[in-house]
Symmetry: C2
Subunit: 337 residues, 2 copies
DNA sequence: ATGAAAGCGCTAACAT
DNA sequence: ATGTTAGCGCTTTCAT
């Protein structure tokens, strides 16, 4: 294993015939340094390929590591990727670097990642909590002043800052859109009810029905964890004596599954609104109407929350709700028969 | 700004009435410690909420920081996200943490990120180089033993390990697939020729034509940087006196643009093969045939390369080519008229 | 304008 | 089985 040790300040100092402290002054531009000395130091730095060791600096200064730890379920999911990107861009100017890990929605990996991040003395912690995790252990860290923000879903076990989408209101708006086009039999296809986002969106669905005075029908509620399950669910809600005329798909998989299911059935008369946008939504036939989330904004909001905490804001935990936006493209505007 | 300073080994030691070194022994389980001492140390650690400071440890041990710096153009792009995920999973067991930054395809941000990572003394550096960047400055780091791997595209200025998709061969296979279905007038819609991946894929396109003895026709080559441009390009190659009967879309945008363009023209008779898979490919009508890349495998391959370097492999720079896979779904199997 | 000494939190290499 | 000393690379605090 090669020693990758680079030149240190002392190395540079020795070259020039000064002390490490002088080099430090040149590097950080604080104390006064003679022009000629500075020049020679800079020259030696360049010649030796010196890079100041940021970790040693942080340690001596007593600062935490200039990183923010982010735990997301899956880096390949563009929702979380975009969120991370929005956050990173927003904190970059503050000199913070993003360190990420994916939990695969398991509480074990999540715990282990958080633990690593804390051992690294991250400046702040951002977590998309997995379904079954709890975070009592973070109370002490929070009490000690470590900013903690939960993303996309609130956490169990701690009260902490949190940024979520307007799931309930977004779903309400999506379903109201279908109702406005004359539908009264609207199916809901979503995740398992144990998921926070599904519960919220389901509430929004019921809100919209209630507002319009449409009775709730259990038979129109289906679970579809993946494409195929959702496609099958579409078949069920479209059958029976009082079939649905419209579908509200409460997540990405449900939406694409619904598209697939409708295509297989050759049904071009069923209205469809999905929750969360898809890159190909507009090339579908008909183009898919969705309730779009704004993951980059969730990241930015988290960054804002975090930075205000770093600036000394000790007020009680806040929850930021990031608005969704109804994007009407065609599939949701099919009229009721 | 709150002091988030946690308990140190000395704090724990003082509590128990031993020396820091003893606590260190307990934490790292190296030297011998009396059962009773160990118990009391553990108790004190728990009580004080002690977390060993990994950064201080790495510094003292003379190890580099246990992170790998990864520079990608865009975290929201699932290709890079999946790549990062594949890498992260593969190196996790080695105790390496991923630190990421996005360059937005700009050489300035890329340079700045690399610089930050080097200042943090990352264990290794992974870069998806932006088009106009050059990395001469990394020669010294490489020479000093820092593992550097370029991803998706080779870099200018340094010879280093590199992992890329089988762009040329993949494109060749995709176009050959169209030829096998009787097409002889096959359009190529892709990025600007200054991009490495486009150049490779274009070569593959020409390889396939040459193999089949089909003359190359400049008029069938179009640039489409985004959906709309690609959709428009489709219109052009389908017009004229000798229109295309099939389209090879050399990237994601070109592929979705082509789908859009064909839909707008109401053309269901034109065969289409895209390069790089899409989550919705199978719900399109007809389902989209693609040459799928394997971003997770690119990440894993990079991890493998990297770890062998960390294990002392000093052999000359290697380039790993990750195979692509033709996924026939329907759009590519439409027969030539 | 520059330097000397001490120490951030931890551990290597010795003691004892 | 435990403690001492020194020092990783840097910066603080005081000198000079």
């Amino acid at each position: 294993m090669p020693k990758v040790r680079g030149a240190t300040m002392s190395d540079v100092a020795r070259e020039v015939g000064v002390t490490a402290k002088t080099v430090s002054r040149v590097v950080n531009g604080d104390g006064p340094v003679a022009e000629e000395t500075r020049a020679r130091v800079l020259e030696a730095m360049a010649r030796l390929g010196f890079r100041p060791n940021l970790l040693a600096r942080n340690m001596r200064v007593g600062a935490r590591d200039s990183t923010v730890g982010l735990v997301i379920p899956d880096m390949g999911n563009p929702f979380f990727g975009t969120l991370a990107g929005g956050f990173e861009t927003a904190v970059r100017s503050r000199g913070l670097t993003l360190i990420v890990g994916s939990s695969n929605e398991t509480s074990e990996l999540e715990r282990s990642l958080i633990s690593t991040f804390l051992a690294r003395r991250v400046t702040a912690l951002l977590v998309v909590p997995s379904a079954d995790s709890e975070h009592r252990s973070l109370r002490a860290e929070r009490a000690a002043g470590l900013p903690v923000v939960f993303l996309d879903r609130p956490a169990a076990g701690v009260t902490a800052d949190c940024v979520v989408s307007a799931n309930r209101e977004g779903a309400r708006a999506g379903v109201a859109h279908l109702i406005a086009h004359g539908h009264r039999r609207i199916a809901f296809i979503g995740d398992s009810p144990k998921l926070y986002t599904r519960r919220e969106r389901f509430q929004g669905y019921r809100d919209a029905l209630a507002e319009a005075g449409i009775p709730f029908d259990r038979a129109l509620v289906e679970i579809g964890h993946d494409h195929e399950a959702a496609a099958a669910a579409v078949g069920r809600v479209l059958g029976g004596t009082a079939p649905a005329t419209a579908v509200f798909a409460a997540n990405n998989f449900a939406a694409t599954g619904a598209v697939l299911g409708l295509a297989r059935l050759g049904r071009r008369d069923v209205a469809l609104v999905g929750f969360d946008d898809l890159p190909l939504a507009e090339v579908l036939d008909p183009p898919l109407t969705v309730v779009a989330q704004d993951p980059a904004e969730i990241g930015r909001a988290a960054a804002g929350l975090l930075m205000s905490r770093l600036d000394g804001d000790r007020s009680k935990a806040r929850t930021v709700v990031v608005p969704t936006r109804l994007v009407a493209r065609g599939s949701g505007e099919l009229p009721a028969p």
